[in-house]
């Protein structure tokens, strides 16, 4: 008779492959749909994360482009016609006199037509509009000016003159970006919650399907963790497999968006292109692993809680 008691010294490293076979979870038809469901969730989460980061990047670029610049609007006289050259020179001199302003350059007619082109098309310069004179102000690096004081000074010279700091427009865009980021976080949270609920129900189904084997292992004295580990690694594998499928689909979608942004002439004037920062790539690439780990922890807790109720 060979079966001798197991001495503590004999206990040790387990053969994980052999142990993993104890519960035939890989034969379980109820989990076949799980990777595809997780793939869809990861795909949607990746798109949401990508969209949020892309918008953030675009806003940063707009912000960088506008930082250190102001635009002054000098209205034409009430009776029509151009500003008097003397008035124009006086206004420019007033601007250049402000400490921190390094240049004040009025936009010529061609530049103004170029600005109107996206809205009025190629005939923009043929349309007679009472447009104000636009002056592009450049500030020294790190300099800031009192735009209200400058506006008051210019108003004496050219009634109705305005100083546009772009702040209000950018503020609105940043508020929009914040809302998009919150929305993205909510979407990712929702997707994560759905994934967790799905894993809970799948694990419970697995426990019911394999109840005879689980019961047998329990009666043999299998520690609860021994049983839970088999469910948790099964859930991890399914989560990662589904996550990788979803990630591949998302990368294909990003590639398509990048090409569309590169080639789309219509969007080129308004959109700075589809680019993702390194943080976005890390977040998106980590999704399959994150989904696997979420599945692992969920299955582990679900099984341990179920086993704790056994006699």
């Amino acid at each position: 008779m060979a079966g001798s008691g197991i001495a503590p010294a004999e206990r040790g490293r387990a053969d994980d492959m052999a142990r993993a076979r104890t519960l035939p979870l890989h034969q379980d038809g109820s989990t076949r749909f799980l990777p595809w469901l997780i793939a869809l969730m990861v795909f949607l989460a990746a798109l949401a994360v990508g969209a949020a980061f892309a918008l953030d990047t675009a806003l940063e670029r707009w912000n960088d482009g506008l930082r250190g610049t102001l635009t002054v609007q000098l209205p034409r006289p009430a009776g029509g016609g151009p500003l008097a050259p003397a008035t124009m020179e006086a206004a420019l001199a007033a601007m250049r006199a402000v400490p921190g302003i390094v240049s004040a350059v009025p936009l010529d007619a061609a530049a103004q037509s170029a600005l109107l082109k996206p809205w009025l098309g190629d005939n923009a310069d043929a349309v007679e509009l009472p447009l104000p004179v636009l002056v592009d102000l450049r500030l020294a690096a790190g300099a800031s000016i009192d735009d209200a004081a400058l506006a008051r000074k210019l108003d004496h010279l050219v009634p109705g003159a305005r100083v546009e700091t772009h702040g209000a427009w950018l503020d609105q865009l940043f508020r929009l970006a914040s809302m998009v980021e919150i929305g993205t976080a909510a979407i990712v949270l929702l997707i994560g919650s759905v994934a967790i609920v799905t894993v809970i129900f799948t694990t419970r189904t697995g426990l019911m399907i394999h109840a005879p084997v689980v019961d047998l292992l329990h009666l043999m004295g299998a520690p609860n963790l021994y049983i839970a580990r088999q469910f948790q690694w099964h859930a991890f594998r399914l989560g990662v497999r589904g996550g990788v499928i979803g990630l591949v689909l998302a990368l294909l979608a990003f590639g398509a968006l990048y090409l569309a942004a590169q080639q789309g002439a219509a969007t080129a004037d308004l959109m700075p292109g589809f680019r993702l920062p390194i943080g976005a790539w890390i977040s998106v690439l980590a999704l399959p692993l994150g989904m696997g780990l979420a599945g692992l922890m969920t299955a582990r807790i679900t099984v341990l809680r179920a086993l704790a109720r056994m006699p």
Partner: protein
């Protein structure tokens, strides 16, 4: 080894199956458990292998009051009990070797130790040529011997067998009983539930007879062999 004090058992709101049961099995004892179908043999075995908790009364196993044993220590106690189930409960997706190895794997033994012990034990029960066979390809008697090998692989202190000779001919039944005797000689307490009065008579060990939910002790006689 095993002590029941005033134990009663009922399932849910059903009738009481066992009443006021007092039992004391000494270490190294060998007992048959008998009684009519539905008398409560399986319930008594389930209480013994900790699949159920009594409705009232106290169960002591290995000198420990089960009601006082923390949940985390129960697996350790269960590993000291070997069970041969009436329906074998072999896992169809595993080979004979892996089925027999299960209690050792559960206990965290090394794979090389497991293989050595399992192959040796399969030889002992006469199934050395079926190491890789799946249970579904084996006869009822062969499956029974796999189930017995699995129950004894860790040399449990308490061995419980529910109708272990139910599916085998007399020659095999005798051989199985001799296996249990050999284990018993090595110190394992053995309880065998059976309807086979001829075996009980032949081996002459004490018998626990369940009748109307109560246990009647029937003394054994000198072993007949």
């Amino acid at each position: 080894m095993v002590r029941f004090e005033n134990v009663a058992m009922r399932y849910g709101r059903g009738p009481e199956i066992l009443h006021d049961l007092d039992l004391d099995l000494a270490p190294g004892a060998f007992h048959f458990l008998t009684g009519a179908s539905g008398a409560g043999k399986s319930t008594l075995l389930r209480l013994l292998y900790l699949a159920e908790r009594p409705t009232r009364g106290r169960v002591f196993l290995f000198d420990r009051d089960i009601a006082q044993v923390p949940q985390r220590e129960l697996p350790g106690l269960r590993r000291q009990i070997g069970v041969v189930f009436q329906d074998f409960r072999l896992l169809d997706h595993l080979s004979a070797l892996d089925n027999v190895a299960l209690p050792m794997r559960v206990a965290g033994a090394r794979e090389d130790t497991i293989r050595e012990h399992v192959v040796d034990l399969l030889r002992w029960v006469g199934l050395e040529n079926f190491v890789n066979a799946k249970p579904s390809t084996l006869s009822g008697g062969q499956q029974q011997r796999i189930a017995i090998a699995r129950a004894v692989i860790t040399r449990p202190q308490l061995l419980l067998a529910d109708e272990p000779t139910g599916n085998v001919d007399d020659a095999i039944a005798l051989r199985l009983l001799h296996l249990f005797e050999e284990l018993n000689r090595r110190g394992t307490t053995v309880v065998i539930a059976t309807h086979n009065e001829a075996l009980i008579e032949r081996f002459g060990y004490p018998t626990l007879e369940i009748e109307n939910g109560r246990v009647r002790h029937r003394a054994g006689r000198a072993r007949a062999g």
